[in-house]
Structures are given as structure tokens and as C-alpha cells.
């Protein structure tokens, strides 16, 4: 006690600082602690004790009211999950992966090209290869751009509904198919086996061919019957243009489940209204 009181009067430094820290941290006092510290330790224990004070209950109600007002619901069972929907992300990823891997094949590209949704360069290639509408380049005349847009809007609606059965190898897309097939054959591209080329083979009667060479010969012969269709010109309405080259066809293309005939290619001479 004497030492402790002397330290308070400003004398030598107190030796029990570590004991004080122990008390402040809630640790038990060591046995060699000064006796006067035990009273202080009990005081600190009383400070820490949870009081049984009924006055605190109104404060709890106020706090909970504030909480309920700030947070929408107090029932965790009714809380909406905030995780982003995975379905659209998964579908997007799968479609992207499928297209990237070429699983849909040339037929799928033709579908996209017919809808006019490919990038400009690819759209132009598809235009030349398959006979679909060209990309709406800015250097084209305003008339053409407008035409393409109108046509694209209309055809996109119908074409996107088409099932992936490939372009009609007997219809106006035949010339483009033939061109693409020729390129693929020359480069040894495995895309020859896509749906579109199968349709071409069927139309050419090459399915029953014994060898790949015989099959190719039949397709080549079949393709000589097709010429490149003219460029799309402005229709009066959203119908087929007036001046077109009528490609030879072996049959009237059906519309069910296949891409619709495109403007720029006549069918049976009647107006094409998509």
C-alpha cells in the first residue's frame, strides 16, 4: 500500500503496470499483485457485468423499429435472392461456344447471314456466297442502305424462326452454296460435311455416290446450272424487286421450317410478301 501511494504522489515509477494492463484486458490478477489492486479489479468486474435494467427495453423497441424501416423485410424466409440469374448467362455462353466451335456449321452462319446480323465483312461474304442481303455499308447509296435495312428487318423476323436445317439447296441460295462448297472443297475444309452441304449433296443427287470423288463430281455438275443473282434493288414496298435474275430451280421452295426466299430471287413470278 505504501509503495502504491508513493507512486501516486509523483515519485518513482509504479512497478505494476503489467498488472494494470491485465485488469484492463479482463485477465485474472497474478498472485503477487498488490493487495489494493484486488478492490479495483472487483470494481472493473462490476463495470463489465450486464445490468438487469428494465429501462433498456424501450430502447430495444426503438432500435428494432429503425431496423425494420431501413430493411425491407424482417423475415429471412421471404428475402429475395440477389444472385444474378444464371440461365441467360449460361445460354449466352453455350451459344457463343457452339458458334465459335463451328458446331452449327455453315448452315448456321447462313441463317445468321440471312438475318443480316453478321458483321459487315462477313455479311458481304455471305452475300456473295449464299445470296443473302449485303451489309449496309455507309458508302452505298442511301437507297440501297434503306432497302437493305427494310429487307433485313422483315427477313430477320422470319429467318430467326427457322430451324437449323440449312439453306435450301434447290432455291435461290443454291448459287451461294455452290460457291462456298467449291471454296471448302479446294481448301479441304471439313465444313463440307455441314448441313448446308448435305442439302446440296441431296439436291445434286450425290448422296448415293460411292466415293467422295464421285459425290464431288455430282455436286460440281449440279452447281453449273446456277448463276449469280443480281444485286438487290429497291422494291416499291417490302417485296421483291422488279429486276432480278431468275435462277433455274428444280422445285418450288417451301416456307415451312426453312429460311424464306429472299428478295432478289424470284420464285414463281408472284410477289413475295414475307
Amino acid at each position: 500500500m505504501a509503495n502504491f501511494l508513493r507512486s501516486l504522489s509523483g515519485g518513482r515509477p509504479y512497478q505494476g503496470d503489467d498488472h494494470l494492463e491485465a485488469m484492463l484486458s479482463g485477465q485474472p490478477l497474478p498472485e503477487n499483485a498488490d493487495a489494493e489492486l484486488y478492490g479495483v479489479n472487483e470494481l472493473l468486474t462490476a463495470l463489465r457485468a450486464a445490468p438487469v435494467d428494465p429501462v433498456e427495453r424501450p430502447g430495444q423497441a426503438r432500435a428494432l423499429d429503425a431496423y425494420r424501416q431501413t430493411f425491407a423485410t424482417s423475415d429471412p424466409a421471404h428475402q429475395r435472392r440477389r444472385r444474378p440469374a444464371m440461365i441467360s448467362t449460361l445460354l449466352g455462353a453455350k451459344l457463343g461456344a457452339a458458334l465459335a466451335a463451328g458446331a452449327v456449321g455453315f448452315g448456321g452462319v447462313a441463317v445468321a447471314a440471312a438475318a443480316g446480323v453478321l458483321p459487315d465483312a462477313a455479311q458481304d461474304f455471305a452475300h456473295h456466297a449464299v445470296g443473302v442481303v449485303p451489309a449496309a455499308h455507309k458508302d452505298k447509296s442511301a437507297k440501297d442502305v434503306k432497302d437493305v435495312k427494310d429487307v433485313k428487318d422483315v427477313d430477320a423476323t422470319e429467318t430467326t424462326k427457322a430451324t437449323p436445317v440449312g439453306p435450301d439447296a434447290t432455291g435461290p441460295a443454291a448459287f451461294g452454296l455452290c460457291t462456298a462448297w467449291s471454296h471448302a472443297k479446294d481448301s479441304g475444309n471439313a465444313a463440307q460435311k455441314s448441313i448446308a452441304f448435305r442439302n446440296l449433296a441431296t439436291a445434286a443427287g450425290a448422296v448415293t455416290a460411292d466415293t467422295a470423288g464421285a459425290k464431288a463430281e455430282k455436286i460440281a455438275t449440279y452447281c453449273t446450272t446456277f448463276t449469280k443473282p443480281d444485286k438487290v434493288t429497291k422494291p416499291d414496298k417490302v417485296t421483291k424487286p422488279d429486276k432480278v435474275t431468275k435462277p433455274d430451280m428444280t422445285g418450288k421452295p417451301s416456307t415451312a421450317g426453312k429460311p424464306t426466299p429472299l428478295p432478289g430471287a424470284a420464285t414463281t413470278g408472284t410477289s413475295h410478301r414475307p
Binding site: 500500500m1 502504491f4 501511494l5 507512486s7 501516486l8 509504479y14 503496470d17 494494470l20 494492463e21 485488469m23 484492463l24 484486458s25 479482463g26 493487495a35 489494493e36 489492486l37 484486488y38 478492490g39 479495483v40 472487483e42 470494481l43 472493473l44 462490476a46 463495470l47 463489465r48 457485468a49 450486464a50 445490468p51 435494467d53 429501462v55 433498456e56 424501450p58 430502447g59 430495444q60 426503438r62 432500435a63 428494432l64 429503425a66 431496423y67 425494420r68 431501413t70 430493411f71 425491407a72 423485410t73 424482417s74 423475415d75 429471412p76 428475402q79
Partner: protein, 188 residues
């Protein structure tokens, strides 16, 4: 202190789980009220505590930190509230003065050795009254260390002093308390 479950309880409270928030409130509010009784004179400590929770709830969803950081934030908010309210309200002196007077009753049994003062029936309210007799800094530092359970660094940030100054203030406060108790024993 909640301990290991704190992160889970906090996360649930931040998602609207009322029971989780109630756990947080039950864990901290008693200490909050006691702290305000020590440091915020002239205020209604329950009222200030409730206002503290209103502010805490508004920022609850954005809070990030462990339990020590959580307590430091709540007590910082309470301190600010207490200071704001300090000059407008009078402190409630209900049982504090009577408790202190009871301890000083000459008829009360006390040990013969004044060096071994044993506070047989020291309750929380009396303890708070004794701490309130210290200097403002000493009282607050001891309240934050002992009642709020904050460490030296957190207390230093809260009161705006260095950790060394906080340690010195706490130690001097404890020695002062020992002296007060000793004198009480002597006077008895």
C-alpha cells in the same frame, strides 16, 4: 462480445435478418448505456443509446470489419451523439448518489485492514459512479477498455490520442480508483 459467430451474425443482419440484428443489439447496448453514463453527463443515456442505434442501422449494410471494428464504430457513433446532446439535457441521477451514500454508511461492516477493502455488494451502478469521479479522459479510456472491450489502438483512434497517452491515462485512472477505494475504507 459475440466472438467467432460475429461475421455470420453481422452478415445476416445486413441481409435483413431481424433476429441477427437483435443479437447485435443485445450484445452491445448494455455496454453502450453504461459508457454513456460514465462519459456523457447531462444526457439521457438510454435516449442517446437509442439514437445511436438509429444511426448505426442506417449505415449497417455498408459496414465492413471484424467485431472490434464494429464495436469501435458503434461507440464512436454514441460518443458523437453524447457530445451533441451533452449541453441540452441534464444527467439522470437516480440511484447513483444513493448508492455512493450507502457505501459510506458508518454502520456498514468493513474489514479492519483498510488495505484490503472488499466491496461486498459493489454493483454496476456504484462502479459507474466511482469511475465518473475520474478525469474525463481517464473515465472514458477506462470505460472504453473495460465496458466497450476495445483495445488500446481502437481507443486511441476513438478519443483522438496516441496509444501511449491512452495507456498512461488508463493506468492513472486505475490507480486513482484504488486511492478512492482506499480512502473510503479509511474513512469508514
Amino acid at each position: 462480445m459475440i466472438g467467432e459467430e460475429f461475421a455470420s451474425v453481422l452478415a445476416r443482419a445486413q441481409r435483413g435478418d431481424e433476429a441477427a440484428f437483435a443479437s447485435l443489439w443485445l450484445d452491445v447496448n448494455p455496454a453502450l448505456v453504461k459508457y454513456l453514463r460514465v462519459v456523457a453527463h447531462e444526457v439521457d443515456d438510454e435516449d442517446v443509446a437509442a439514437e445511436t442505434w438509429v444511426t448505426v442501422v442506417r449505415g449497417l449494410a455498408r459496414f465492413r470489419g471484424d467485431e472490434m471494428a464494429w464495436r469501435a464504430w458503434v461507440f464512436t457513433t454514441a460518443r458523437r451523439r453524447g457530445i451533441d446532446e451533452g449541453r441540452r439535457r441534464t444527467r439522470r441521477r437516480t440511484a447513483l448518489a444513493s448508492h455512493v451514500a450507502e457505501l459510506a454508511d458508518p454502520g456498514r461492516l468493513v474489514p479492519p485492514d483498510p488495505a484490503q477493502v472488499v466491496l461486498e455488494s459493489m454493483d454496476t451502478q456504484a462502479a459507474l459512479a466511482l469511475v465518473a469521479q475520474l478525469s474525463p479522459l481517464q473515465a472514458e479510456v477506462i470505460a472504453l477498455r473495460v465496458i466497450a472491450g476495445l483495445d488500446v489502438e481502437a481507443v486511441a483512434r476513438l478519443v483522438g490520442r496516441s496509444p501511449g497517452a491512452v495507456r498512461v491515462a488508463a493506468h492513472r485512472g486505475l490507480r486513482r480508483l484504488a486511492l478512492i477505494l482506499a480512502r473510503q475504507g479509511v474513512t469508514l
